[in-house]
């Protein structure tokens, strides 16, 4: 039974790794685009 707890932990951990990875890509792309649009506005 003890070994099974490792599976439980793995399942929960992987769930959050997947979600956090996706969120991280959103956040990083967002800040990248924000910089881009700021520089575009400056150049106007």
């Amino acid at each position: 039974m003890k070994g099974n707890n490792a599976y439980l932990l793995a399942a929960y951990a992987l769930t959050w790794i997947i979600h956090i990875t996706y969120l991280a890509t959103i956040v990083s792309r967002y800040s990248q685009l924000k910089r881009e649009i700021d520089s575009l506005r400056k150049n106007k």
Binding site: M1, G3, N4, N5, Y7, L8, A10, A11, Y12, L14, T15, I18, H19, Y22, L23, I26, V27, R29, Y30, L33, K34, E36, I37, L40
Partner: protein, 230 residues
């Protein structure tokens, strides 16, 4: 509107923590499977959330086909992407649950198999969005989304019948569920639904910004004086 986002963020985080506590400690331990059964509280709500998101994608695609509003197209894109993320969680937690309980990594269980096909359909949708030329992407994607959504009942019926002919271990138990477990399941579903909403909202804002930037670039290249390229 902008202030709503952090408020919702805090509420969602609180819900998720509470739901996690209930899943790990609050819920009673299952008799035959032990603690591993608790994966159920993440596996099933993720599946339900994914289905809801794909349904939203269907609705948004229909709206786009009729009304041609960019917002509908963005909702379709966002719901498909986030739906695929949740679907991936289902496909990852499923085998992790199956392995200690049945000794095999995969069972042609109804939920798992249907989720796999759904995942494939919506990943192909995302590929179409990426590979098609930008002018026609919203329309083509919407058409594919309609076909994909119509396929879903067929997926369920065919796999259901296949499984009755070739019985396999059923994940999540076929029979009735302990009311305390149902309670924890629903709490987790609520928490993940709020989380999914926030993720979709963030992705929507990103998409909106992306399109603004693209438009700005397009405008710039139009306005650039002849003979000079920035």
């Amino acid at each position: 509107m902008k202030r709503l986002f952090p408020i919702l963020g805090v509420v969602t985080a609180a819900l998720l923590v509470y739901a996690l506590y209930m899943a790990l400690i609050g819920a009673p331990t299952e008799q035959t499977m032990g603690n591993v059964q608790r994966i159920f509280y993440y596996h099933v709500p993720s599946a339900w959330t994914a289905f809801v998101l794909f349904f939203v994608n269907f609705g948004a695609s229909l709206v786009y086909l009729v009304k041609r509003k960019a917002a509908a197209d963005m909702v379709a894109l966002v719901s498909a992407e986030v739906g695929v993320v949740f679907c991936t969680v289902v496909l990852v937690t499923g085998p992790i649950w199956a392995r200690p309980v049945w000794g095999i990594w995969w069972t042609w269980d109804m939920r798992l198999t249907s989720t796999l096909v759904l995942w494939l359909i919506y990943v192909s949708y995302l590929f179409l969005r990426r590979f098609s030329s930008s002018g026609e992407t919203p329309t083509l994607a919407a058409a594919l989304a309609v076909l994909g959504a119509l396929c879903v009942p067929f997926v369920y019926f065919s796999i259901w019948f296949f499984r009755t002919q070739h019985p396999q271990p059923v994940m999540g138990g076929g029979g009735s569920i302990d009311p305390r477990m149902l309670h924890v399941l629903l709490i987790n579903w609520l928490a993940f639904s709020c989380f999914a909403f926030l993720v979709c909202w963030s992705r929507y804002r990103l998409e909106k910004l992306q399109r603004e930037v693209d438009q700005a670039h397009a405008l710039e290249s139009l306005m650039a004086p002849r003979g000079s390229v920035r």
